[in-house]
Amino acid sequence: MTLASALRTGDLTRLPSRRDEDWRWTDLRGLIRVLPPAAEAGAVHEAGPFSELGGDEIIIANGHVQGAADFVTVGGQDAILQLRHVATQASSNPSRFGITVRSGDSLLVLESYEAQADGAVTSADIDIIVEAGGSLRRIVLAADHASSITVSTATVSLAANAVLEQTVLTTGARRQRIETRVAHPGAGATVRLDGAYLLCDQCHADLTTVVTHGGVDGTTSQMTKGVVRDQARGVFQGRIVVERGADRTDARMGHHALIVSDRAEVDAKPELLIFADDVSCAHGNTIGALDEEAIFYARQRGIPADVARAMLTTAFVGEVIDRIEHDGARDIARAWAAQQLGTDL
């Protein structure tokens, strides 16, 4: 039951629906009545959001990968891959892309979702392998169209002592899910999985993660924050599985959301499934409004209420952005957040 199989076969009954537990807040079967036709790869003229940072660029236009559908590192520590999913028209866009980080290599993937037209339906499968001692930093910026339907599914396999550091930033779409599934059967893997969703109007964003600790001495640090206003809806599903024998796993998951209007909604499901004895796991989940006392404090110092709200909201999201190590990518992420929140602090 995936969007990809529905797009490839044209069979709407293959769409995930609210009857599937993992999709109950991101129903596609009830939403999609007709699948748009497939399209040729359109020409992409605009630069992507990370263009100034350079590196290799792969464009997946309307579901068609421009060039080889697999990227393999060739040694070195500073490689950058810009992976752009661009929809130029209202088409069905299934795609698959593979990334392999060779042993000891390091790669920064700057991935973007750029819908340039109404009504595109995109399914992107990304298969990622990080070999022993390799490290992958992945930053996903989903600047989708408010009428798009997008499902991005990254499946990540980490070998011993591999590192994955990921930050997903999204403004949502008509319906959008960005899912990351991480397995590390090898020992000593390090995972950081962060995300921020900033939603307004009727946009929807679903950040779903599954981390399966199969080897010993793995660590997962996860921080997701959301700000929802108007009638927007944010979904966070985080599952951490610690398998039998995955001792000395240290896993921490945090999800915190601000609801800024009466009609906005956040659905959160943090799950820890622990089958090993010697582990340290924790999760925290909060959903609330801005602290009115803090706003009064700022106003008493002369800061108008709207500026105070923007300042506090930006600071709330800033905690996620501060964890991006790459300076250039962090600056772009910060500017993006400021633009979404209407502040240049």
């Binding site: 700022a298 108008p304 600071a315 905690e319 602090l345």
Partner: protein
Amino acid sequence: MLAINNLCASVANKPIIKGLTLDVPAGEVHAIMGPNGAGKSTLSYVLTGRSGYEVTSGAASLDGEDLLGLEANERAARGVFLSFQYPLEIPGVPALTFIRTAMNAQRKARGEAEIGAPAFLKLARETATSLKIDFEMLKRSLNVGFSGGEKKRMEIFQMAMLSPRLLILDETDSGLDIDALKIVSAGVNAMRSPDRAMLVITHYQRLLDYIKPDRVHVLSAGRIVASGGPELALELERDGYDKYVQVAA
């Protein structure tokens, strides 16, 4: 400078301030003392425009300009500063960023040019030095993880940076050890000037050993029930509030 005339105010429809009249001329320091529940903190919130504190009648003005019709931030821009009894923590906003935002918002409201980064940092360094504040602390999120004394010192730092005309100190001595009290008091005393008025709200006389008031008022059940010189504070310390509670009742 500050003129309060027959002020009545309620919180959740419950009258707390019941006909309070008070004048604080420029250059003077007035202390407001009173038992728990007298309305001391309510008075500070009513004067600064906190929502939920409803003025039902009466007036309050600063240099003849009505305060009660203004938003909280507009009052701040006109020079009203409240040093909070419990300063708020502002996660993710460095103290310097917060204060610069406040300073420029006030300047903008007054039609003045914004302060540039170099001038701001120079002023911040000088002020921090005079208040014995580690400049590095100002780069951290405002008040997050600060001790009670550090938070109060940060209030005085903000006060010195923003240079208000009316200072309201709400239980500034609470949570301070004697060394912190001396530093904070010295910071407040340095702000005394002929064109500035101060309202020092306190439960205990101790603070007034360090910040010498010109006048002392006793607030009980929402009204000023006695006024006098500094000796009134000593009398209260000796005899307690009992007789004033009975007067108010």
